[in-house]
């Protein structure tokens, strides 16, 4: 009987790993009033929405939500697929923020910790990022903090043990990118939201990043 169950287990593993279509899918859509149908919420629609209403959709605005968890208050939980970041407030509630996440191929999941925080952080593009985009070479020694800096108003630095993962939760001056998959793996938040999260987050806070079918695992 044990071997029979083992066969079932292995078959299921193979099914979920080898045939991704059997694993749950996720998509955010926006109603296109001109075409009278739901379409994927992409950069074009996000920018259009932001220009029209001067804000991101309500779904991505900061709010307190019911959230039953055994994780300790102060833990940060990131739902990459749904573009939400939860700051655990109690075992029954959390503050939910909208986020932007990594584009295709840059998705990851893991368990890391906040070991450093910075206001108006300096940004130094990683070597791999400069290799992908030579225009960034001029910032190889760092870009000072400020409104043009892609890290925005605040940054939380995520570490795997004592090693910098190079991933950050940071602000953005392009608020319309919240809800989209555009980054190189960092978690983007509207500047108001990252300032709020920054004030709440303690050094050492646990950060759990969840993603369906991640390309990479960190801190595991």
């Amino acid at each position: 009987m044990s071997s029979k169950l083992r066969v079932i287990y292995l078959a299921l593993l193979a099914t979920m790993v080898l045939f991704p279509s059997t694993v749950g899918a996720f998509q955010t859509q926006i109603y296109d009033h001109e075409r009278h149908r739901w379409v994927p919420y992409d950069l074009s629609h996000a920018r259009d929405y932001f220009n029209r209403y001067n804000r991101v959709p309500d779904m991505f605005s900061r709010q307190i939500v019911a959230f039953e968890t055994s994780e300790e208050p102060g833990t940060i939980i990131i739902d990459t697929d749904r573009h939400f970041l939860y700051y655990v407030f109690s075992h029954f509630s959390a503050i939910r923020y909208g986020i932007g996440v990594g584009r295709g191929g840059f998705g990851w999941a893991g368990i890391l910790h906040v070991r450093r925080k910075a206001r108006w952080p300096k940004w130094t593009p990683p070597k791999e990022m400069i290799e992908r985009d030579e225009r960034l070479a001029k910032y190889a020694n760092g870009m000072p903090g400020g409104m043009d800096n892609p890290l925005g108003a605040r940054a939380l630095y995520l570490f795997d043990g004592h090693k910098d993962s190079l991933y950050r939760i940071h602000g953005t001056n392009e608020a319309w990118t919240i809800g989209l998959n555009l980054s190189s793996g960092c978690i983007r938040m509207a500047n108001d939201d990252i300032v709020d999260l920054y004030e709440r987050t303690q050094l050492g806070a646990k950060v759990i990043v969840l993603m369906n079918k991640p390309a990479l695992l960190k801190g595991m």
Binding site: Y9, G24, T28
Partner: protein
């Protein structure tokens, strides 16, 4: 007895994935005026409930890291979640929308416990 019944339901849900019977399920919606999300993945609270239960099974006080890496809705109120441990092992967990973990199947379980004792031990009271 109730726990055993729940566990049987969870194991059945896992078997349905193998049989490929869940493809016709309608996706769930979370709608907000002009924006909506279509998903068949499990809410994060349910994913973490499975991760915590699996961690408790594996180590003292959930010390070992367990991370959900894939999930799928099986029925309106039931999800199956795949997990990976920091030791590289994988496990499958079924959980209902109330957060009741119905079953956990992993290679350690298969090695250390006979199948006859699996369902009862995995059930949430």
């Amino acid at each position: 007895m109730v726990g055993t019944a729940l566990a049987k339901r969870g194991v059945l849900a896992i078997l349905v994935v193998v049989a490929g019977c869940a493809g016709g399920e309608k996706a769930q919606y979370q709608q907000d005026h002009m924006l909506r999300s279509i998903y068949e993945t499990a809410p994060v609270t349910l994913q973490l409930a499975c991760a915590n239960r699996t961690a408790l099974r594996h180590g003292q006080g959930g010390a070992r890291k367990v991370l959900p890496i894939a999930s799928r809705r099986m029925e309106n109120d039931l999800y199956v979640i795949m997990l990976v441990t920091s030791e590289g092992r994988r496990a499958l967990c079924s959980v209902d929308t109330a957060g009741n973990v119905l079953s956990i199947v992993d290679d350690e379980t298969l090695k250390s416990e006979p199948a006859s004792s699996l369902e009862g031990k995995n059930a949430t009271p």
